[in-house]
Subunit: 540 residues, 2 copies
């Protein structure tokens, strides 16, 4: 992954001129002048500060070549991939950095590194793909003798497959594409495809309670995990892949979502299933977001939901159609078709079905009937194919927009169906108010992308002219306004991005004071000296 | 519930003479002479020992009439409904008993009772329906100034229903039948029907990670719980019913299965669904248990499982057919039918479908096709109706058998599909060996009754002549042998009965030393003086 943005060079797809002009109009003025990232060597980092004894202990734990201290390695592990991370990386200013990067090649080396860090009072930041958008891999070493990033990507073995029980065990540092390739070679799939899929690890998914684009069908990562092996300073906690158990509280659920503050996720046992022989992604239109959400609810509660279910609100539909507009005759015909049926200004939905060919057909017929009964208009597979092509594209577009002086950020929540629209309105209003007050009125887009019997997620994207002088203050104002609105409005502070550094101030509102104390009690038991990922998850 | 056994008087269905004769033959001799329970007033309890100050504090917390100290109340709360409980109750010997029974009428009174008990060093045993079969409500007060049972059955309000989000909130003391009646009045159901359904509470289900007879379809209680309110000595821990969240570890999963050792389950928010308009329970036959388990696995992994799926092994099939035998012409015809198709000595399965009429039809056709492909023979709805009639009958039959000097006990586990038969054989062998060594060879029956993508439960029933002199030692020997075999054989020590007192010695083998320490850390934070249900769940 390139150090200042998303993915690899060569994947960029710069916005066409018409889209840039549209954005200028929507955002109420000219964004800043296009500006690329500084050169790697110009990135300013705090000087490395690892005491000699700590350095020696780490080299001893890792062997030759296992400890990287060069500028490039420190920059690559200096931040995740949230908007404030990218602002700081591109400018080369305001970054923290690990004093060194530890690259263990075995679980034993992980344990040895933790022991060395406990002994030498060095903070440890577990680092999988480094794609956190909530500051989860920020190297924070205050109060410690130093801070190291623990890069886990060499722990990438497929440990075991049990095809009869449909279970597979991987080491935590396994990247998404290789995991699917290993399973695919045996005719299996996990089916977990977060937007970060190409660059994130299975350990990271588990540590952050990740949800994938197909989680409505395949289940969230917390539903797919059947066993974990946590390497903690106090020892190893292993939960076993029983299909179900009544043997007390489920300790696996303490590890899932622990964000590196309890230990390192060394191994994960996951439910897998046969790789789909058939895939069908369809587009549908609703007159309104409310109509679409109702139809999604009915479909989900009937047990008829597709694997992928995504419904854009009116504003997201309008903007994505406008930005993608080519002015072609086909497009004009499409618009006329929608207008004639009263769907002008409506909402686009994507439904995706994966599985055996018969299964896909059976399920899509059933879902389609419920969609039509709910007021939907079928748009065929073209919008679905377009969604599928662009499913991992968002973060590349963000790099392009940031280069044009546009602030672009996402945040997400979930709530019960009966509260969905009130929360949708409250968060949108908070973002519009807070950014308008600063003179940079935003465009706020939203979609539903994960369905549950009792509710759904809301995923917001907002764009505004970047405040060139104080981009981080601008971001903080919007983030705080939205987070306050989420908590006050009965949503969870995060549906799948995790807490990290950015959501810490709102955790107590979610789990209560006693809940925070319970998490602290778990941490004190597993990580008595507190070296594991300080400054994350738990409030200060 | 009658104090010495199960349910209410008048529900007994004594075994016919032919069945008694069969049992005599199967168990290798005459069981003991028929023997009823002693009279209530003959039950010997340790004298009440509540210090005056503690008594006064409790009366002050509960108001007049909230503290019961009479012999009947103490006997009714002296034990659960496991085999060793019933042995002691029927003989009136060897029981512990609460010094008093606290009956709070509001959550505030629960909190006041806990405060009084902390102050006065009195142990508190939360008591819902009192149907634990693992000693979960045993009043153990060693090291405390006294022990009270906290009877929660007056906390039985329906707090809230959100029909759009399909959520309902109940107080923890709500009994099963009333819960379903309250939901039924709104056209809803929870669908949670453990064998104890008629006499157990929703708080008890949550505290013990209960599974119901229809949990293959409706989900276990841990899957149905969306929010809990735990009243602990250290305060209230409330988790909110978000449909999903990535805000750190899922603390709800610490409360579910906490068996009263962390606090009292004051309220539960559950997923509900429309009451089924149609129900269909069918019987099927397989040539062997292995064939049936394979077909169940295929059906479950295809997402085609029924709501109720139950497969008896050869021995359970043989015994249940023999015990129910009437010698009628119809029965002889049925046997001839099975013989002609190579299914003599095979296994009976029950499949149950519930829901909308169309849904039931669609699902049963799909499941039926997979069953036939797996070698099953359809037996129509008669065996299903028979199962349905007797679904809550087992514990009544146990009372009858115990009155005839028969030891009868159940235990259960779960494991992955690839290990199912090895574990089935190992546990059966352990029971046969341990009881045969004592001169009381058992009959060991088993069924699969809960399906998961990765595995299934195994539910064992075993019968033997009761050792009249040392019935508890006999039970302990069998229980220990089976539990050792489960742990060594890769099963969970309990799939839905919980840990309680009886499974404590095997918890560490399941969750590891660090796992036990994590549970202790949670307990220390929520219950610093350790008054909550001592001697349960956590190893001594």
């Amino acid at each position: 992954m390139r150090w200042w943005g998303w993915g690899e060079d060569g994947h960029d797809a710069p916005l066409p001129d018409a889209a840039v002009a549209l954005l200028r109009e929507e955002l109420g003025g000219e964004p800043g002048t296009p500006r690329g990232p500084v050169a790697l060597e110009e990135v300013r980092l705090p000087g490395p500060a690892l005491p000699a004894a700590a350095r020696a202990a780490l080299v001893s734990a890792l062997g030759e070549g296992g400890l990287r201290e060069d500028h490039a390695a420190r920059v690559e592990h200096a931040a995740g991939r949230g908007y404030p991370d990218l602002v700081r990386l591109r400018s080369g200013e305001g970054l923290s950095a690990p004093d060194a990067v530890a690259v263990p090649s075995s679980p034993d080396q992980v344990q040895a590194v933790l022991e060395a860090c406990v002994r030498e009072r060095v903070a440890v930041v577990p680092f999988g793909g480094g794609t956190s958008v909530v500051g989860g891999v920020e190297p924070l070493g205050e109060g410690f003798a130093g801070v190291v990033s623990l890069d886990l990507r060499s722990l990438n073995r497929l440990v075991d497959v049990d095809p009869v029980s449909r279970l597979a065990t991987f080491e935590g540092g396994m990247l998404g594409p290789r995991l699917e390739a290993e399973l695919g070679a045996q005719g299996l799939t996990l089916g977990h495809f977060p937007q970060s899929f190409e660059f994130s690890t299975v350990g990271g998914w588990v540590a952050t309670r990740s949800a994938g684009q197909a989680s409505t069908g395949y289940g969230r990562i917390d539903e797919l995990v059947e066993g974990v092996r946590l390497i903690a300073p106090a020892g190893v906690l292993a939960t076993r892949p029983f299909p179900a158990s009544a043997a007390g509280p489920d300790l696996e659920e303490l590890v899932v979502g622990s964000e590196g503050v309890l230990g390192v996720i060394g191994e994960v046992t996951l439910r897998v299933r046969p790789a789909p022989e058939s895939r069908r992604y369809e587009g549908w239109s609703f007159r309104t977001f409310a109509e679409g959400a109702d139809a999604f609810r009915v479909m989900e509660q009937a047990g008829a939901a597709p694997d992928i279910a995504r419904l854009s609100d009116e504003e997201e539909t309008r903007m994505s159609m406008a930005l993608a507009s080519s002015g072609s005759r086909m497009e004009r015909l499409g618009k006329a078709y929608l207008r004639a049926r009263g769907h002008e200004g409506g909402c686009i939905a994507i439904l995706g079905f994966e599985g055996g060919a018969d299964d896909v057909e059976r399920r899509r017929v059933r879902a389609g009937a419920l969609m039509r009964a709910g007021g939907a208009l079928a748009l065929g597979t073209r919008p679905g194919a377009s969604w599928s092509r662009g499913r991992y594209h968002g973060p590349y577009l963000r790099d392009d927009l940031m280069g044009r002086g546009v602030m672009v950020e996402t945040l997400e929540t979930a709530t019960v169906w009966s509260n969905l629209h009130a929360l949708h309105d409250a968060v949108g209003e908070a973002l519009r108010r807070s950014l308008s007050e600063r003179g940079t009125p935003p465009v706020v887009l939203c979609h539903v992308s994960h369905l549950y019997p009792s509710g759904a997620s809301l995923y917001f994207t907002f764009l505004a002219r970047q405040d060139a002088d104080e981009p981080l203050a601008q971001w903080r104002a919007a983030k705080a306004a939205a987070s306050d609105a989420i908590v006050a409005g009965g949503g969870t502070i995060t549906h799948h991005h995790a807490i990290g550094r950015d959501h810490r101030p709102w955790l107590e509102a979610e789990v209560g004071q006693l809940g925070v104390e319970l998490l602290r009690a778990a941490k004190e038991r597993l990580d008595p000296t507190g070296v594991m990922n300080p400054g994350k998850l738990l409030p200060g």
